[in-house]
Assembly symmetry: C2
Homo-oligomer: 483 residues x 2
Amino acid sequence: MAVSKIEPHIYVIFGATGNLARRKLFPALYHLSAKGELKGKNKILGVARGDLDDHKYRILARDMLKSAGLPIDNKIYSPWCESCLNYHSIDKGDSKDYEKLAARIESIEQENDMPGNRVFNIAVPPSVFPKAVMGLGEAGLNKSPGWTRLVVEKPFGSDLSSAKELNNLVHKYFEESQIYRIDHFLGKETVQNLLVFRFANAFFEHLWSREHIESVEITVAENLGIEGRSNYYEQTGALRDMVQNHLTQILTMVAMEIPIAFEAEALRNEKVKVLRQIAPILTKNIIYGQYIKGKIDGKEVVGYREESGISTNSKIETFVALKLEVNNWRWKGVPFYLRTGKRMPKRLTQIIIKFHCAPISIFKPFESTCALEPNALIITLQPYEGFDMKFQVKSIGQPLTLTTQQLRFRYSETFGALPDAYETLLLDVIKGDQTLFVRYDEVEASWQLYNPVLGKKIPLKNYSAGTWGPTEADHFFSLEEKR
Amino acid sequence: MAVSKIEPHIYVIFGATGNLARRKLFPALYHLSAKGELKGKNKILGVARGDLDDHKYRILARDMLKSAGLPIDNKIYSPWCESCLNYHSIDKGDSKDYEKLAARIESIEQENDMPGNRVFNIAVPPSVFPKAVMGLGEAGLNKSPGWTRLVVEKPFGSDLSSAKELNNLVHKYFEESQIYRIDHFLGKETVQNLLVFRFANAFFEHLWSREHIESVEITVAENLGIEGRSNYYEQTGALRDMVQNHLTQILTMVAMEIPIAFEAEALRNEKVKVLRQIAPILTKNIIYGQYIKGKIDGKEVVGYREESGISTNSKIETFVALKLEVNNWRWKGVPFYLRTGKRMPKRLTQIIIKFHCAPISIFKPFESTCALEPNALIITLQPYEGFDMKFQVKSIGQPLTLTTQQLRFRYSETFGALPDAYETLLLDVIKGDQTLFVRYDEVEASWQLYNPVLGKKIPLKNYSAGTWGPTEADHFFSLEEKR
């Protein structure tokens, strides 16, 4: 990892009054400032269509922080707000508007004697995204006297060809080294720690292969439904919304080879390599599900087709389970199971590494080889973040009987609360560290993998809200952690 | 492990008024009865020189239990005492006395319609031991209509030739299958669990060799001094008192190959094998220490030579640290460090398995190969019994830094209090399971190893009470657990 420092810069948020700005970008930038991480070296420029001015935007910003649940310390907030926060209306977003934006940026930089370092964080709907990139590029905002960085939020296309199109468009104006594609899963402490866990612990790395591992299970379960985002979800579904990005990112971090160094290109080279080694996914190894009404935490919830804005005969999957194989020397023959769904019993992101059974039990020498429960490593990414190593222990007393217990580590017991992923990621953008961002060829390799699946008709099974998905998927998942 | 059951039997304790009977045998047998483990099928016959009768002995027995700190439930104690407890004075212990003892045993068996199963637990000083065994043998008490078992307490000799002599004497009258040599460490749940840990967990067994392990450290630290046993200790010292038996037993369980089954002969075969594979110990790899005055828990304590009954120029070691090597395919080149001492900072029995460093740190690629703290498995046998797996975790926040954390398992959190080792062992005697007892050839192989050391002049270093021994031993121990 390069040692990076904070340089004076303007952080430009496109979509500055939108949902993402409100929930994530603003709180993260404010919290970084409040903690002193930015050393007072940043200006924020909110950009949106609305007819606001600096003063009105500062009032709105306070509301945004409040609605994100952030405690606001007035002694910090007021000076921060006054010195740091500006607004610029992009109006209709034609080329003249971008020229005005450029002028505004330059004037802020001049006023504050800034060297021209700029972040453009594009937090607008996918339909508006190309126009924004073009607008920046055509107005010359892809270059500056200092550095210029472009932050791109998901979705990165909706299939292989649209992803390529997007990449081409962005590359028309920006170098790949300027582009920061956010998969917010990569900003989670627990996901970053996957790499530390694997590459700083000789103990585990020795066991990390087909020789010792029976299967890998990755679950990203949500208990929420679609939360009003019917339009988006009807065009997306769980495969595009979760599997192609988040689950596949986790998979690459579990399966990748050891990079030559802990830095962006080395790491992303390995991620792309492993993505390209995944065998084509067989239709029979994919299970789609859609939730029908059920109960979560004792509360009745409606089925997907009853959600407001959803077609009553929608075929969109709210659950995906699939099995895939990584065809390389390390992993050949080890099934990787991915599972994600909405309206599952609880929120849980978890990786289960199941080890082979002991070849023989000297305690029951003539019973089946799996007379002993196999060792398993359970990495919980959220909530109750931590590691659990399942192992066999002698029960107290006689006769000798075995019981499965766990070696445990919980982040909260050591570190307290974990920072939000966006704080980590935006700070990395500002420092210029691309390690935790998705490179264009990763996006394309991932779509390459799922593109054939998109074209196939996969039967859709019902599951009741509050269950772990269609029973047809159960045999994929040998262990189910319920904590 | 054979499934064994409790059969009616007489449990004869030689030395029935002595220290071991008082502290360990009596409390264990009573507690087993009170828990219903013996199903009311046993009679206890206390044998000693003192002129007591059943009644007086029952009164004494209550005192013994009380002084051992055992809660006595009168509803259980009184009927147990009345129905189960008898006393026989052996007087001078000549052959006539043993014939009388035989008659007494037979009469108890007849009265109670018992099949003649007998345990003789010889809890007398080493000097009296041969006479007792001969007495039993000559009186024909080595055979019975049922089974006969002989329980032998340490020390099993004081060097190789005396150990062989003892074994020969015992074998003159008893088959090895009748003999139960107690090393009470083997009765500890945590020590038994070493075998489960190793042979029921594929995960760990794969790492259990020179390929992955850097060193093994075994520590048995006592904060106590010699507690009035000056006579015994002046003839013994730490090597004979602790290393030759307890530490070496733990070593064999860490280092042994996988037995063909979890049963006595298979297990003990492997223990003997590994003992015979230990290379002769070099004098330069042994450090002897003797404590001088110091502080433990803030309290001043005297030095060994100031203890009452100890010679003021005693050369007896109260501390031993040594390094040895197991010359086989699994362990060649891996140092095993053993350490024991009196008047150390605290009571602690612990095994530390230190793994090799990662071959490279991608986090600091050009630093020394041990830029990362190596993984280590810490098995704490007492107190705070449990397992700790040291591993590297990412610290929260940026820049990326690593911190050593632990995957933890504590028996107490799952099982509550652990039973006393003697309960486990005496129940095994009664069931006829020799797995946790020391076979004659183990004793001899262990003495074979240490016999050459006994003949050598090893410099004796001072250490202050309340420290971890002479500083000369520090370099043997890379990790020091202080919890």
